[in-house]
């Protein structure tokens, strides 16, 4: 019984991991670059939410959308002002640029909030649980999982049924020629970076509601997001979901068998996948 509960908890945690991966996967899918500051965007969003909710006293239902909007704006502006200028055939300048950003954000957070653990208080929701048979499941983890699934569904739908989604897929296919379709690729990139930043901030806030974070939590979040997309297979949003769920289950089982292991088994899973199935669990053969 305990194993079923562990498995379900892993699955629920995996929903959150999948969200971390989704934002990073979008960036890679459309621009073929990695955002090393993805984790810091998540943690930065969470810290801003903590500041708004705890210090200013705004209720969470207002805080969350405000932070999401701010994160979107930050991502959009970052892309327009900085990343677009270093985009080219070489993916390394954007990588190094976002590495610089991650260090700036991380240390700004340390200066502003100190290095202590902090969390976002969600009151009774944090401890509420429901009983199904013999297993007890937290209401909040279930809610997070539902939100993650809903977001994957919504993104999939809008990629395939909106003009925005069509333009985005076209830009991902051939960023040069889309200009002739009246599409400004720099704007598409900025929209994607905005969306990715908002997804990061959302997963960061969920993380801070579920447990606690420090300004140094960003690096580990990036690695989780990275593992999610490599394990799931690059280039598809459903790969991110599968990767997230698998990684969540592996983490929770690893922690149950070996409580001091931290993220070790997730990292090792990455190596195993690279050895056994480098194209990822959901991936077709990839070209690079």
């Amino acid at each position: 019984m305990i194993w079923i509960e562990t498995l379900i908890n892993g699955l629920l945690l995996g929903g959150l991991y999948a969200l971390f991966g989704l934002g990073l996967s979008l960036i890679f899918g459309v621009m073929k670059i990695a955002n090393i500051a993805h984790g810091e965007m998540a943690i930065g969003g969470a810290f801003l939410a903590i500041a708004t909710a705890n210090f200013i006293g705004l209720p969470l239902v207002l805080t969350v959308p405000i932070i999401l909007l701010m994160a979107w704006g930050f991502g959009f502006a970052l892309q327009m002002a900085v990343i677009n200028r270093v985009l080219g055939s070489d993916p390394m300048p954007p990588l190094l640029m976002t590495f610089g950003l991650s260090i700036v954000v991380q240390n700004l957070l340390v200066e502003m909030f100190g290095a202590d653990n902090r969390s976002l208080d969600i009151g009774a929701l944090g401890t509420a649980s429901i009983q199904i048979g013999n297993t007890s499941l937290g209401v909040f983890p279930l809610l997070m999982f539902a939100i993650a699934l809903a977001l994957f569904g919504a993104l999939h739908w809008s990629l395939h049924h909106t003009r925005w989604g069509r333009n985005l897929r076209a830009t991902s296919d051939d960023p040069e020629i889309v200009g002739m379709m009246g599409i400004d690729r720099r704007r598409v990139f900025a929209m994607v970076m905005g969306l990715s930043a908002a997804l990061a901030a959302l997963s960061g806030m969920m993380l801070a509601m579920r447990g606690s974070i420090t300004p140094f939590s960003g690096g580990e979040r990036l690695l989780i997001a990275f593992e999610v997309i490599v394990i799931g297979g690059l280039g598809s949003i459903w790969g991110s979901l599968i990767g997230g769920l698998v990684l969540g289950i592996v983490h929770v089982i690893g922690l149950r068998l070996d409580p001091a292991s931290g993220p070790l088994y997730g990292h090792l899973l990455l190596l195993v996948i690279l050895l056994a199935k480098p194209e990822g669990l959901a991936g077709k053969a990839r070209s690079r």
Binding site: V86, D90, I103, E111, L223, F226, R288
Partner: protein, 311 residues
Amino acid sequence: MTRILAIGAVLILASLPFWADRGVIFLGMEILVVVALAQAWNLPAGYGGLLSLGHHGFVGLGGYALYVLSRDLGMHVLVAIPLAGVVTAIFALFIAPILFRLREVYFAVGMWVAAEILRILVSRSDWLGGASGLPLSGARDLPRAWMGPSAYWMALTAAVGTTLLVWALMRSSFGLRLRALRDDEAAARAIGVKPHRVRLIVFVLSAGATGMAGATMFFSSLFISPLAAFDMGWIVTIVFVTLIGGLGRLSGPFLGAAFYFLLREGLADYGNWYLIALGAAAMAIMLVLPGGLASLSDRFTPSFTKTKEQP
């Protein structure tokens, strides 16, 4: 002329322990270690396009290798330091087949994961002192007064050695193949370059040099712990020093290290602000001066960077 100047500079640097005080010797050692680390990282990243965000794993591994060689094999530290580099290089040889399945940005982050795995495994190993770390048992090999100068000379050797290594490699046909590979892999293959072998060689050389520099650093501290050894701060310093100084340029690591230490010492009273300034400076350099500080003085330094076409 340049050679005479360079030899003169090395001789003056080598004499430093005889006339400077302990604080200066320690700072000099740190600077030289950072130069060596940046040269070692620049070799695959700047000249070969093989960029790693996990070289702090090699720093820590080199450090631990020194401590284990000294403790368990009773090796003299001055022998164990270069050997720590060899151990690190061998480790790199073994992980390369896995990590080379990742390319470009994925390789960069994959290396970071590898460094994390090392940190966690080391901090869980009782043999390696676990999370609380190890003292350097071989420290008694040397008279106390010679500890600082020995570490300094070791660091000087590492800095000069890595610089000469990169310089010699880039003048050889191997360097030509490496740069061909970075600039256009398909074209490089067409002229007979074996991408996997070329990358493997620079990766292993880079790991070895990084391990040796790491061992030098932790020799001087007489104590090693997983958090210090596998600190992200290493890779942050290495990347930004190289980037600010100039990716793929021999003088880059020197200029970048000078910039880094001026910033760090200048902002010593302001907590983490020097890191914020460092990250911001690196971003600014990428926007306005992609060749780094070294590109300001192109005429005086050998450059191996191709001119990028403007989009």
